[in-house]
Amino acid sequence: MSVDTATVRHIAKLARIAVSDGEVEALVPELNNILGWIEQLQEVDVTGVEPMTAVIPNQLRMRADVVTDGDRRDAVLKNAPLAEHGFFAVPKVIE
């Protein structure tokens, strides 16, 4: 499996990263190089092997249904590039 410029543009779009034509040109061989290298995993026989789900045996613990957080709007908005009237503001979205 290898990528071409169209695929690189598509991935960049999925990842929401703007790429110039020059960057796309550079990324094609770079990504192909890496993808070609990780391709070797295909040769491993994984018959009957379950994909790993927990790195170390461990049990998911759950919290009690108690309100312990919130009511700190200033902290939530403190680092926002743009906040108005208690909201985060983003360029207008037309739905």
Binding site: I11, A15, W37, I38, Q59, N79, P81
Partner: protein
């Protein structure tokens, strides 16, 4: 009295306790070293006031007989840990100026134990790198130089490059690092210090900027094994805020330290003998094996058959997780925002992420996005998680034959800045020995073994069973006693 900055964590703690010097003096001394060492670029920000405040508190606590485990010890904190009220960037311009309103669990534990903070340590951007050359805040320069008379600037390794350089250059007696695929161990080896990555889940990931969640682990880096044990003991512990945190008591690692490893079996994995690795690595490895035998351990050759697949497995899983973990950097809630003229939401996302992320981060996000995308999930990600299970199984099986593994930490000594940046795979190969233990979540430590022909440090790695940090530390101590590594870089900075 010798220079206070020549002291390690245990010596400072004990000296403050015994009244040999004040914590204030210690903080002043390290603050001064930090201020003088701008040429290393180890810190992104200095926080001398934090170190001093903690030191003064330590001095008061001593007067009142209320000393804490790390009273008087100033530390450097890797910039991946959120520190309340102090800029936390993860080495990225994406988070330039970001001041968290929260404290990471690891730094909270350390400060709660009485430690102060000298500053936030430089690192590879979002911990993606093995040379600290991907930081948006400039390269960290290793305090070490080759003995060939050349003045080539060397990398301290990465991603905890600032952490490594700070300890080696005596800017801090101990630091926090994080290790996703070798980021504590490889830099520790490059600068001749000790660093341990504990079992996955020992240290809480709460408040640690995520790179690859199933691999990220915090750990200490310091001058010797004992200092690492002290720091790890303070950093670790169950945290209900991290669902992958281990619900286990923290053992008294320092108190139980023992270099008596007689009768222990040390495995030498044959798959770690890799073609193309410089002969000096083999030589130091053989030397290490001899030291362990001298310590009374039994040396056994063992096999980890899937070792060669560890790196490609890692370079699927880590970028995949990273591509998702880094999606939150979108210019909306915090951090950088780039707004093209007349642009919409999507334009803002794309411009922000194009400008805020560096080349390596983008490369990994792209790889991660690709391997998870429609039609490729099974071939890449799921396959990698299966191979990962096989790699973990290899280790499980090997523990039937030995107690620890001894391997090289990295396939070379520190290299020059710029030397490997053009070839990502060559860079990735730096972690060939470190990554398998990361994939399996096992505790692993790098200890300095000696110098190569160019006078640069080389380290060896000890890997242990899950939860057996004590065994790893003990083996490390036995190794350290025999290696007698005392070399240090001569100050030029």
């Amino acid at each position: 009295m010798s220079d206070l900055t020549d002291l390690g964590v245990a010596a400072i703690r004990d000296g403050v306790r015994d009244g040999a010097f004040s914590a204030h003096e210690v903080a002043e001394a390290f603050n001064a070293n930090v201020a003088k060492a701008k040429g290393l670029n180890a810190f992104i920000i200095d926080t001398p006031e934090h170190a001093l405040a903690a030191a003064d508190q330590a001095d008061r606590d001593r007067a009142e007989g209320k000393l804490k485990p790390l009273s008087g010890v100033p530390l450097g904190i890797k910039d991946l840990f959120a520190t309340k009220g102090y800029q936390t960037t993860a080495g990225s311009s994406m988070l330039g100026g970001f001041e968290p309103v929260y404290e990471s669990t690891v730094s909270r534990h350390l400060f709660g134990a009485g430690a102060g903070m000298l500053g936030k340590l430089n690192m590879d951007e979002f911990a993606m790198g093995s040379s600290n050359e991907t930081s948006a805040y400039g390269n960290v320069i290793s305090p070490w130089r080759r003995s060939d008379g050349g003045n080539a600037a060397l990398t301290p390794g990465g991603s905890s490059g600032g952490s490594a350089a700070a300890v080696a250059a005596r800017l801090a007696p101990g630091v926090t690092g994080t290790d996703t695929g070798g980021s504590i161990r490889q830099p520790a080896a490059f600068v001749g210090i000790t660093g341990i990555k504990p079992t996955y889940g020992r240290c809480s990931r709460y408040g640690m900027v995520a790179f690859a969640s199933s691999l990220d682990q915090a750990g200490p880096m310091a001058r010797d094994v004992r200092d690492c044990a002290i720091l790890l003991q303070a950093m670790a512990g169950y945290d209900p805020k991290d669902s992958t945190s281990l619900q286990l008591d923290v053992p008294a690692w320092e108190a139980s330290l023992s270099s008596d490893i007689r009768g222990k079996r040390i495995g030498i994995p044959k798959e770690y003998r890799i073609e193309g690795v410089p002969e000096e690595i083999d030589r130091v490895w053989e030397q290490g094996i001899a030291w362990m035998r001298d310590a009374g351990a039994e040396i056994v050759e063992v096999s980890l058959p899937h070792t060669r697949y560890a790196l490609p497995t890692y370079y699927i899983i880590a970028p995949a997780e990273a591509s998702s973990n880094l999606a939150r950097y979108d210019g909306v809630k915090y951090g950088r925002r780039e707004m093209p003229d007349k642009g919409g939401l999507a334009d803002m996302y794309q411009a922000t992420r194009a400008a805020g992320f560096g080349a390596e981060v983008k490369r990994r996000i792209m790889i991660g996005t690709y391997v998870l995308s429609a039609g490729f999930y099974d071939a890449y990600f799921n396959q990698a998680q299966k191979v990962r299970a096989l790699i973990a199984r290899d280790f499980e099986q090997v523990w039937q034959h030995c107690d620890y593994l001894l391997t090289p930490t990295a396939p070379s000594a520190a290299f020059a800045i710029g030397e490997k940046m053009a070839d990502p795979i060559a860079m990735y190969l730096n972690d060939v020995f470190a990554v398998p233990a990361s994939l399996a979540g096992l505790p692993a430590m790098s200890v300095p073994a000696g110098l190569n022909d160019q006078g640069l440090p080389l380290g060896l790695q000890i890997i242990g069973r899950a939860f057996d940090e004590q065994g790893v530390l003990n083996a490390g101590l036995a190794f350290e006693e025999r290696a007698g590594f005392t070399a240090r870089p001569e100050s030029w900075w």
